[in-house]
Amino acid sequence: MNRKLTHPLLAVAFVALAACGSSSDTASAGDKGKLIYLGKESIPKDKAEMVFQQTCMACHSTGVGPVILGRDLPPEAIKLFVRHGNRAMPAFTEAMIDDETLDRVAEMVSKSKAPPTQPAPTQPAQ
């Protein structure tokens, strides 16, 4: 049924992401105290940056999806994930994220450095 995962690049990237698992701790270990809500200043001007911040990072920096930063994921694999989705991850059409923007987002993710709070890549899959 999950025939889309048969693509070789997807399979490679899937193994890389599964090895990382998702970081539940980042999600549950928030600070107590006043809630911080995002405002105008949180809206990026650049389109690729906007997709990266408001879509990718909404799951991949909150412990919901696996960590994708600083993992040297190949841009082609990232693009395949975005277009095909994978298990819980939805697929995104060209009308939602155009090819040019996706190229830039994939580049951004691929070249990113690991955030300081990221769990070690050796952490077992959850």
């Binding site: 049924m1 928030g30 799951c59 819980a88």
Partner: protein, 516 residues
Amino acid sequence: MTDTTQSALPQGVSPAQFEAALGQLRALLGPENVLTSEEDLAPYTKVMMSDADEKHMPGAAVLATSVEQVQGVLKICNQFKTPVWPISTGRNFGYGSAAPGTRGQIVLDLKHMNKIIEVDPVLCTALLEPGVTYQQLWNYLKENDIPLWLSCPAPSAIAGPVGNTLDRGVGYTPYGEHFMMQCGMEVVLANGEVLRTGMGGVEKSNTWQAFKWGYGPYLDGIFTQSNFGVVTKLGIWLMPQPPAYKPFCIQYEDEGDIDTIVEMLRPLKIANIVPNAAVIANVMWEAAAVIPRSKYYDGTGSTPKEVLEEIKQKEGMGAWNVYAALYGTAEQVEVNWNIVKKAVEATGKGKLITEEDTGNREPFRYRAQLMKGDMTLQEFGLYRWRGGGGSMWFAPVSQAKGSETKAQMELAQEILNEYGLDYVAEFIVGMRDMHHIVDVLFDRSDPAETARAHECFGKLLSEFGKRGYAVYRVNTGFMEQTADLYGKVKRDVDQTLKRALDPNGIIAPGKSGIFI
């Protein structure tokens, strides 16, 4: 351009007929807006339900950018009798996503029609095209310093108000019953005519987004969860940002406490003390937002009770966790807070948790965001609970009475456990009802589990149906079975309307069980 349309033709349409239709669509929209290759169609085929992908494989996807183009598409589809499945933002996860109800339909993707036509900060209204996302509207309001709040479903950032409202979706603010807060729509009918509902038909009218009912029969409802037209504009009401906002949680220890909770909440909701579409989430829903099930349980089948007890203790969660909020001036909020505290005290149990207690911790944080219409995707955590990306919302309507919610809970648990699945559930507090939302989660990469989930879902529908309970919305794999629950006369009337408005049956055949 690779042509793979041979593999997904609509029923009764010959390859030549389909090719001819595509040719005309290319001429109308430009070849780049008629997608037929496997690669281009891939994102439209990713579904979460138990049906095989093949059953919902689109024949093509076309992108329109104007009302005239939508009219043109319908004209061509009528000419060649090729069905089209309209989507706005196409994020109907757990209900069929962007894929059509039946194989071979052409997805009419309106994502590129994404103009925020008007936001009136005085009347607190908006007029939107279908492709507008909640995130886009949120950005617009912030960038323009318009102090209005949205009400959005949990996948807020990537879904959109038009599609959500047309499927009669819900959010979590006082405007959470979205169709109730909808005002005026523009619909392209199958014959190409453009209908404006409510006050929209009156020449020079400026009350299209101000008064819902217009004159004579009220028509907006027949264009929701239906296939009678393609909506190209939708008016919605927005909530003025209140001076004070107080989100809170109430935890209850025992599963059976659902009865007490509902009896406590109903009067507060009906009296508008707790004005929002509050939520009563069970421990598994609550836990799924922050941890995978494997943290506590590595086995297969339903999660054992003792594991749930351990999760409650270690993660500090209730068997039921109520999320509600107060809105208004600081004085109003204080008065209402005292009323809420007394109501909880009167139940003799229940632990109140406020922002000061838990602030930025999840899941409190994302619930607080949703109850003020902010953007979050935290609830996607539900899908790592068991893993595998399978999900179908089983969403029966219940009276807002404790005994009724308890009876539904027990029945759902019994059936899900029979199939080794989990009761991951919440009740969303409606005006007089509860939307009982169960996420039937399964590993879609495991054919045996997928088959079990399929059978389980059918049984949930039929067993609930026997007791007079039916869902408010369902995935495209179970629309027929659900339509039957609503009775023959309803089905006949739907069909009569369909035949009158769309005699060739080209718009979304099968939606809500409606065919010509």
